[in-house]
Symmetry: C2
Subunit: 187 residues, 2 copies
């Protein structure tokens, strides 16, 4: 009965709720900024767009494109907006939570500490880079202070999550490096 629209479907709807877009543009936004918390390739988006189309959650207008075919500018329908709104407040089912670095950490006791330190230093550098990126974006967003009811609120809220996440990660990496260093030179 319930048209089981996949999570990716809602991600697409969330994009279209902000601006009408071609499939290509949606794919671009799935890399940035959504890519930080949900990823999808174009072929996957294409498949899902057909599904959304069939369920009348999106529609499109054709416009002359650069390639051999016309481009299709998708937009969300009233029905789609309703479905999206419903989905947003539905409690998320406990998600898988897959993290290769932590899995490696679980087996880290088998490996060479010096090499591990290098690996965690690389990870730390990446997290610090992203943290700096987020922090500069944060001061910009805080100035404008986007109100609830505007897309800017969504940007601010997800940015905030990314910010504290990167902080937690960097902190953990530093702790790991410290622990591993101690195992190398025991005072």
């Amino acid at each position: 009965m319930t048209a089981t629209t996949s999570t990716l479907g809602f991600a697409i709807l969330a994009v279209l709720a902000r601006a009408d877009s071609t499939g290509y543009e949606i794919a671009g936004r799935m890399r940035h900024p959504i890519g930080r918390f949900w990823t999808a390739s174009y072929s996957q988006i294409h498949t899902d767009l057909q599904r959304l189309l069939a369920a009348d959650l999106v529609e499109y207008a054709t416009a002359p494109g650069p390639g051999p075919q016309d481009k299709k500018v998708y937009s969300i329908t009233a029905k789609g907006l309703g479905a999206l709104r419903d989905w947003v407040t539905q409690p998320p089912r406990p998600q898988p939570e897959r993290d290769e670095l932590v899995l490696k950490t679980y087996a880290a006791w088998l490996a060479d500490p010096a090499t591990l330190i290098e690996m965690f230093r690389t990870a730390l550098r990446q997290h610090e880079e992203r943290l700096a990126e987020y922090e500069s974006a944060w001061v910009a967003v805080e100035e404008r202070a986007p109100a609830f009811g505007t897309p800017g609120f969504g940007n601010m809220a997800t940015l905030r999550c990314g910010l504290t996440y990167e902080r937690h990660r960097a902190e953990w990496c530093r702790w790991m490096i410290d622990q591993l260093s101690r195992s190398l030179e025991p005072s």
Copy 2:
């Protein structure tokens, strides 16, 4: 050339590096404690065990089981241990990072703030519960102070990650609730 063992394969090897186990037992450990950072169903583990078996990374001994068939107690081979050790220090490829709550947050500006507050309060409660769980486990693990080179080190390191992660999440949920509350009653 490179025997492309999946990440799940290494998760299984990481379990067997600690103790010989039946497939059923591996599945149990994939729920707890590995389930926090990598999940797999039994059918998936079964498929992967066959692959690992074919690649000589694991072997098994039969023993009388409760059911109609003998049970198979798997153990890691020298080759498997080598592959696992190599994999551990290999830098992890940037993982997908899928988070439904954050995706909902991205579209939260469309929904009702009061309902959202409830959703985040539920999430906060869950994170606080897990945090309390991890914190009591932490004091127990810190006392024993497991040395590098023992499985206990892996337990401690992953627990530490879970600890700071839950703290970050709880913090973010509290921030969200605060923001959403403000949009309800503007001073």
